[in-house]
Structure formats: structure tokens, C-alpha cells
Amino acid sequence: MNTKDKIEKCLKSAPKPPAPDGLLDKLQADVSAGDIKTQRSALRRWFAPSGGSISPWRVAAAAVIAIAVLLPLSYGATKVVKKYFITFEAEFKYPEDNTVYRTAQTMVMSGDNIKSEEDAKKVLEEFGRLYREGKAEEISPGVWQVILSNGEKFNYGGDPEILGLSEAERKKLLKKQFDEIHELKKAGKFEKTYKPEHDYLVNGIKYRYFEARYVLSDGTVKTLGDSEPVIEEDEHKD
């Protein structure tokens, strides 16, 4: 046996590192977590909510989940707490450069005195009014507290600006913000943070996901999800 044969034999019989216990379970759990054919990350669902391929429009997304809780809650007792989800969604298109911004804010409402969707909406409206009257206190970064007219404390974590507005007013406010964001985006005046764990593929093209942080003229900071194609690659083609 010559040296080359010996090397080949040695390489072919290289030992195989054993897979750790529990890895298969984790991988199977990933399969169980979603439908394979339509399995897409939350990000992709967001980009292409109707299924199928992502539209040719460049899309930037902003999504916020806000938590709102009425205090005091009865701690220590076992009981079923009903939650109400209220979502505001908006979309703004800038056809000149095929950019679309989508934003959504979902409030998860719960509390002893929230017994219907109407109750939840009324609390949000009252919060918005009190916030605009300067009666909300920021008790920790991003969490606001007000005392409602019935004497209850109400905590809210999220963007307080859009609460207590009519739909038209809310859209007007958001449009103003996104107009400014769009100008900042065009001028490249934002900070990018790549999040490779959210990179995704569409029709064989890899898209690199990043968070774009914009500081608006009134000091408001908005962070949006965005992505850019990686041109060089034809990866994953079989």
C-alpha cells in the first residue's frame, strides 16, 4: 500500500463525532413547531402575509407588541384571566422607490374589570386621553402608568402616542413618522444591526435581515425590521 492509499484509508475511516443526546428531539420540535410547506419565520409571514412569494416591493416592517395590565390584579388566587388582543395595523407605500412600510401594534389587555372588547377599547381610549393631558407617568423605560377615572391603576408598555386617537388621526400621525423615516432611509441616516438568525431565502435569493434604528426630529426612536438581498449567492440551488 503506497502512501496515498494509506492516507485515503485513514481519511475514509475518520471517526464520526457522535450527535449529542437531545439534538434529535430539538430538531423534531422545530419540525412540529410549524407547517413545513408554508413554514416561514414570523418575519417572512410578516413580509408575505398572504402566503406565496414576497412581493417585489422592498418592505420594511415595524411590529410592536404592547402589554397593558389593569392593576391591582388579584395575586395568589387561581383564576382564569381573559385576555383581549387589540391590533392596529397600517401600511405606507412609496412607489418612487418601491418601498412599503408596514406597522402593527398589538395590545394584550387583561384585568379584573375588562370583561369585553368594548371595555378594553374604552380603557385604551381613556389612557390615550390621560397621556395627552400629561397625566401618565413613565414608571420604567417604555412603561406608562395612569390612574383611570374609576381609581384603578393602568400600566401600558408600548408606543403611547397612537392610543386614544381615531383611525384617521392615528394614520395621519404614523404617515408623518414614516415620511420622515423614509427620508432618513434614503439618506442612509440610520443604524443597522444585522440579525443573521432571521436571514431567509426567497426563490433562491438570500435576504439579510437587519434592524434599522431611526431617530426622528422630535427625538422619537423607531426600530424597523428590514432586509437586503445578498447578490453574490446562488446558494441552496440543487
Binding site: 485513514c10 475514509k12 430539538k26 443573521p196 431565502l201 440543487d238
Partner: protein, 185 residues
């Protein structure tokens, strides 16, 4: 086997989770071993294996069976590793990858004696010191058992390039191996 894999792929593509789990059972250990040998850490290999299969499920619809499923899978694993390597290029320098020690301690050794085993280990060490392109052809062709054509497809290069790289690899390893043999004698 190939027919069975194709059937499983078709079923998985239609959303059949059992078929996907069957595919996992067949391939996950191979993919883990490939990534473990490359990246130098069990934990990183575990993460990369998970990322690889997430990419597989999200792009299974693009798999057209023009190549073997295992080749396509290795291509995704390779791309996942390359992305990870780019991101971790600074930390990687300090990592010492001795995957073979983990294996030979726990698995039955394919080598006849201690001297042969030590020689093999030095060879694996030499392979890990090769540049990325050469290292990959050794890992895919020899360690993973892919054919030359499959190795080329997994790396996205021509089969002739794989052959050329292997010739270069042998030039390097032959020198090293001959030296080691003489040393042992």
C-alpha cells in the same frame, strides 16, 4: 434508498411532518458530524445543525431533485457554516479543534494500534490546517463520503476543481505522512 428519500422529500414538501422527521433521523447525525468537525465546538455544531435544518424546511419547496437530497443538505450546511465562520472569524483563531479525541475515546477505534491512531490524528490535524477550500473537499469527500461530483455540487464548484484541490491536498499530506512514518519507524 434514493427512491425512499425522494418520497419522503415529496411528502415533507406537502407538509407531512412525519416524513420530515424521518428525513431528520436519516441525516441529522451526518450533518452534525460534518459541522462538529468543522467548527470546533459541540455547542456551535448543535446550533449550526439546527440552523441548517430550519433552512432546509423553509426552502424545501425549492429542492427540485436535480441532485441528491444529501448533496443539497450538505450545501446548505456548508453555507450555514461559511456564514457562521465569517461572523466568528476573530474568535475562531483561538479555538483548537480536536474532534477526533472526542470520538476515539468513546467509539471503537478503526485503527489497529496506538501508533496508527496517533498517525491518523496527526493527519486530521494536518487537514484542519489546510486552507478552507482544500479542507472542505477532504471533509465532504472523505469524511462525509460524498462522491467527487456531489462534493463539487455541495461546494458550488466544478468537479475538475475538486480533483485539482485533492491533488494539492495529497501533495501536502503525502509529505507530512511520509515524514511521520519515517519518524515512527
Amino acid at each position: 434508498m434514493d427512491g425512499q428519500i425522494k418520497r419522503l422529500c415529496r411528502s415533507a414538501n406537502k407538509g407531512d411532518k412525519d416524513a420530515a422527521c424521518q428525513l431528520l433521523k436519516i441525516y441529522y447525525a451526518d450533518i452534525f458530524a460534518y459541522l462538529r468537525r468543522l467548527c470546533g465546538s459541540k455547542d456551535d455544531a448543535e446550533d449550526l445543525t439546527q440552523q441548517t435544518f430550519l433552512k432546509v424546511w423553509s426552502s424545501l419547496g425549492t429542492f427540485k431533485s436535480r441532485s441528491k437530497f444529501s448533496t443539497w443538505l450538505h450545501r446548505i450546511a456548508y453555507n450555514t457554516y461559511i456564514d457562521w465562520r465569517r461572523r466568528n472569524s476573530r474568535n475562531r483563531q483561538s479555538q483548537r479543534n480536536q474532534w477526533w479525541q472526542e470520538c476515539t475515546d468513546t467509539n471503537p477505534s478503526p485503527f489497529a494500534n496506538v501508533a496508527e491512531r496517533q498517525l491518523a490524528q496527526r493527519l486530521y490535524e494536518a487537514v484542519d490546517l489546510l486552507d478552507e477550500g482544500k479542507r472542505q473537499v477532504v471533509h465532504l469527500h472523505y469524511y462525509q463520503g460524498l462522491s467527487l461530483r456531489e462534493t463539487a455540487k455541495a461546494l458550488g464548484i466544478a468537479t475538475s476543481s475538486v480533483k485539482h484541490r485533492l491533488r494539492e491536498v495529497f501533495k501536502i499530506l503525502r509529505g507530512k505522512f511520509s515524514f511521520e512514518e519515517k519518524e515512527l519507524q
